[in-house]
C-alpha cells in the first residue's frame, strides 16, 4: 500500500515538474497582439502554437479574476486535479472534463508494475530453481518410520484447497491481464486470446468469492497457531534448517516460515479482497481516481502474493519429502513430524488425540 502511494506520489511529482516546465515556457511567450496586423507568421506544421489569448482585451483581469486565466492555463493549473464542470445529462461522472490522473495510472501500470512484477515472478522462479539445484529435495533425515499421524483434518484440507484452487485461477487470470498481451496474444491470435481473456475475467470475478471465504476461514481456523513465539526466532536463526542437512529447529504446528506465509495470505488476501470488491462494483464506493488507486494496490499486492505463493507451492510439493502428504492425505510420517514440527508432535502424542483435532475443535 505504501509502495502504491509512493509510486503515485512519484508520478504526480514528475507530472507536476513537467507541467511546471511547460508552464514556464508558456509564460515566456510574448503577449498576444490584439490586432491582426501584428500577428507573427505561424507555420502549418507547427500546428496551432498560437499566442496566449489576451482576455484582458475585452475585460480587465481585475474585474474578472478568472478571466485573467486562459483556458489552457486553467488546464495547466488543473493538471493535477480533475477539471469538473456541470452537465445536463444524468451521468454526473461526465461532468469531469479532464482527469489527468489517467496518465499517471497508465505510466504506473505500464511501467513499474509491469516491469517490477515480471522481475519479481521470474526472480522467484530462478531463486527456487537455484535452491533445488543446490539443496535438492529435502528428505527425511531419519527415514520413514512407517507410523503416520494426522497433520490436517478434512476441514482444514478442504479450506486450504478451496483457497488454493481459487488463488491459482485468480493469479493466472491476473497475470493474463498484465502480461497476456505480450506473451499469449502473439501465440493465440486476437480472437482466441479475447475468448480466453473473457473466460478468465469472469473466473477472476466469481472465484474471488471462494478465495475471500477461504481467507476468512483460514484465519479463524489457524490464527491461534500462528501467533509469533520465541521458537520462531530460533527457527529463523538457523534458516529453518532449509539450507543444511540434519538441522531441525523445534517448531509447533506451524514454523516461522509457515507463519510468514499464513500472515502474507491473510494480510495480502484482505488487501486484495478490499481493493477487488472496490473494483468489482464500479462507482459504488468511489470515483475513477479511487478506482485507479485500488487497481494499482491490487496489482502490486497480487504480484507480490503470487511470488510468495510460488515459493509455498515449491516447498509444499517438489521441495520437501512428505510435505505434500500433510495437505494431500492429511497423514504424515512421524519421523517427518519429529524433524519439522517436534513440539507439535510431542503435544499430540503426549495428550489425548481428540484435543488435538487440529484447527477448530
Amino acid at each position: 500500500m505504501t509502495l502504491a502511494t509512493k509510486i503515485r506520489t512519484l508520478a504526480l511529482v514528475a507530472c507536476a515538474l513537467g507541467f511546471f516546465v511547460a508552464g514556464q515556457s508558456v509564460a515566456q511567450t510574448p503577449p498576444a497582439p490584439v490586432n491582426a496586423t501584428s500577428t507573427p507568421p505561424v507555420s502549418a506544421t507547427e500546428g496551432a502554437r498560437l499566442m496566449p489569448p489576451a482576455v484582458g482585451a475585452y475585460q480587465s483581469p481585475s474585474q474578472r479574476p478568472e478571466a485573467g486565466l486562459m483556458a489552457n492555463d486553467a488546464e495547466l493549473l488543473h493538471a493535477l486535479t480533475p477539471t469538473r464542470g456541470w452537465v445536463s445529462i444524468p451521468d454526473q461522472k461526465a461532468a469531469t472534463l479532464i482527469q489527468p490522473a489517467g496518465r499517471d495510472w497508465r505510466q504506473t501500470v505500464k511501467g513499474p508494475i509491469r516491469v517490477w512484477g515480471s522481475w519479481l515472478i521470474l526472480g522467484m522462479c530462478c531463486l527456487l530453481i537455484a535452491f533445488y539445484l543446490l539443496r535438492g529435495k529435502i528428505m527425511i533425515d531419519s527415514g520413514l518410520s512407517g507410523r503416520t499421524i494426522e497433520r490436517f483434518n478434512g476441514t482444514e484440507r478442504f479450506v486450504h484447497w478451496m483457497t488454493a484452487g481459487a488463488f491459482v485461477v485468480l493469479a493466472i487470470s491476473g497475470l493474463n491481464i498484465t502480461y497476456g498481451r505480450y506473451l499469449l496474444l502473439p501465440l493465440l491470435g486476437p480472437d482466441a486470446f479475447t475468448s480466453l481473456s473473457v473466460l478468465l475475467k469472469y473466473a477472476h470475478n466469481y472465484l474471488s468469492f471462494a478465495f475471500m471465504l477461504g481467507v476468512v476461514l483460514m484465519f479463524v481456523m489457524w490464527v491461534r497457531h500462528n501467533i509469533p513465539s520465541k521458537l520462531d526466532l530460533q527457527w529463523l536463526a538457523v534458516g529453518g534448517g532449509l539450507f543444511s542437512k540434519g538441522v531441525h529447529p523445534p517448531a509447533d504446528k506451524f514454523n516461522a516460515g509457515q507463519k510468514l506465509i499464513f500472515w502474507s495470505v491473510i494480510v495480502g488476501g484482505a488487501t486484495l479482497s478490499f481493493t477487488g470488491i472496490w473494483l468489482l462494483f464500479p462507482f459504488q464506493f468511489g470515483d475513477v481516481s479511487s478506482m485507479q488507486l485500488m487497481q494499482v494496490i491490487h496489482a502490486i499486492v497480487g504480484l507480490v502474493l503470487t511470488a510468495i505463493v510460488i515459493a509455498h507451492i515449491y516447498i509444499g510439493s517438489l521441495g520437501m519429502e512428505q510435505a505434500f502428504d500433510a495437505m494431500g492425505t492429511g497423514q504424515v510420517d512421524e519421523n517427518w513430524a519429529k524433524e519439522h514440527h517436534g513440539v507439535w508432535l510431542a503435544k499430540v502424542k503426549g495428550q489425548a488425540m481428540p484435543a488435538y483435532k487440529m484447527g477448530h475443535d
Binding site: 496551432a48 482576455v55 482585451a57 456541470w86 445529462i89 469531469t96 481473456s197
Partner: protein, 198 residues
Amino acid sequence: MARMKFLLDAERCIECNACVTACKNEHEVPWGINRRRVVTLNDGKPGERSISMACMHCTDAPCMAVCPVDCFYKTAEGVVLHSKDLCIGCGYCFYACPFGAPQYPQAGNFGTRGKMDKCTFCAAGPEPSNTDASFAKYGRNRIAEGKLPLCAEMCSTKALLAGDGDVIAGIYRERVTTRGYGSGAWGWATAYGEGSRT
C-alpha cells in the same frame, strides 16, 4: 494524409447540446451512453465556458496503451478506433482516458460492463463500412462517405471543428487573431502533446 482532430472554441460554444443530440441520432447510440457531452465550467459565474468533449483521438492514446487485449487501432488519419469483438469490458481504457471517453452499456457489477463504446470520429470500426453489423456496433461511417463528423458539421456556431488538424488549427488561429482573444483549444495539450498547445 490529414491528421484528424477535434477542436472546441470555448468562446463560441453556447451549450445547445446539438452535437450531443446529432451524435446520438446519427449512430443510434444506446441509452445511457454519451459519445459526446457538453461540460460547462464556472456555470452561472463570470468566465463561464462550455466545452463539448468526446474522444480526442490522442496522438499517444492511453486507451491503446493499457488495453489488455490490444483491441484498439489507429487509422491512417490518426483516428483511434477499437474492435468490439475483441473488447473484454475490463474498464482499463476508462481508467486511463483523460477525457472520460470510454463508456460501457451496463453498470458493470461483477465485471459485466459489456463492450466499451466511444466516439469513432464517425469512422465506425474494423468491419466493412456501413454494413448492418458495423452500424449496430459502431454507428455510421461518415468518413467512408467522404463526410466529416456530424457533431462538428452541424454545430450552429462552429464552435466545434473537426477535420485536418492543421486546417482547423488555422481556422481557430485566424479567429483568435481577428477577435483578439481566445481561451485555447481544450484538451489539445493533453491529447496531442505539449507542442500542439494553442
